[in-house]
Symmetry: C2
């Protein structure tokens, strides 16, 4: 099997390339992985030798078909563990990531099959991100960015794009979670912020930055 380090590189390449197709830069990877560019070059040579990536010196990397398969498996594990932590162990959004990051590297096909079953085959994780199927397929639902809603339009939060603790804690304070009912009360053209009512009660004003990170589906 692959080492934890290899798996983390593959996951990072997958994420930076937005699904595996676009080429990813050495510096980008080094930032995501908190390592130096030289270390990335090192690892890319190794991953290339294992045919997990297409690597052309000085011109970035892409995942091979096999690399994508591996990436989706890791993401599946990560997201299933996140669902477990939130739904069964009552972790909050912002406590989940670090732990799931460790659990995703546990090697056992049976474990993941059984976990999936135990959780009732969930389709999205606590951040609203889709969970790849056992076959390695990612089925997306139609989502709109909160910033795109018109006045009076409603939506249910299905996803946030930023999983940094500070951001998740902010959303908790405001009262926004996956599943929260939102409605646009007013638009403030000055800075593109919106006044949003949360669960049909209190309303808050969200900056355009935040509005771009929250996704909703039809209620």
């Amino acid at each position: 099997m692959h080492s934890t380090a290899e798996e983390n590189y593959i996951k990072a390449i997958y994420k930076l390339s937005g699904g595996g197709t676009n080429a990813v830069s050495t510096t980008g990877l080094s930032e995501t992985l908190q390592t130096k560019p030289a270390s990335v070059s090192d690892m890319l040579r190794k991953l290339s030798a294992k045919d997990l990536v297409h690597y052309v010196k000085y011109h970035g990397v892409q995942l091979t078909a096999e690399g994508q398969r591996v990436a989706l498996k890791i993401i599946r594990k990560h997201r299933l563990w996140e669902v477990f932590l939130v739904q069964k162990l009552h972790f909050t959004w912002d406590e989940v990531h670090e732990v799931a990051e460790q659990m995703e590297h546990v090697k056992s096909e049976l474990l993941i099959q059984r976990l999936d079953e135990f959780l009732g085959h969930p389709r999205i994780d606590p951040h609203g991100d889709p969970i790849p199927t056992e076959a390695g397929e990612l089925r997306e639902e139609e989502q709109r960015v909160l910033a795109s809603l018109a006045i009076e339009q409603k939506g249910v939060v299905c996803r946030v794009k930023d999983s940094q603790p500070a951001f998740l804690q902010y959303l908790n304070r405001v009262g926004i979670q996956i599943g929260t009912q939102l409605q646009v009360v007013d638009k403030i053209p000055y800075d593109n912020s919106l006044e949003i009512s949360i669960n049909k009660s209190k309303s808050v004003i969200l900056s355009s930055d935040v509005l771009e990170k929250i996704f909703v589906i039809n209620p």
Copy 2:
């Protein structure tokens, strides 16, 4: 924190020393850990520098108080995960160990607290071994080895001393699990084997080797 390798050494020392008090040999450790004696010497120097063990060259190791604390924490994690795998994910006895061996190294206090709560604060694992408390205490129940029962005496399986897949599969075939009701039907003095009835029905003959590995409590 400690590395996975360090944790495995500490666990092995704890087990071989029967709770931390007796000195353990380099060869013993190398066999348990499937490494060479030279590698063990290496690691013992490191663990000693971290004050996790008392190590006197050529005269074996013991865990320090801190080392014992660490050992019990790892064992607690391992056994809680085993309970989870068996009770929630319907793993069988013999599928559990390898996976728990990986999960026990996940670092998160909160995770273990919540897992313990989720499982209802279990006192023994699926092998009947006691689960150390959060405070690091091991409370034992009175147990007898199956080999020590007289004819007609009864017991409930609470523990087996061997967790090798082959042995656990053998017990599964025979129909013995934690919680199984046993009764001694007859003694065979020739080789110290016993005829045992299982759950008040079918009876089998167990060798003295096997009898030494199964523990029971009063029914």
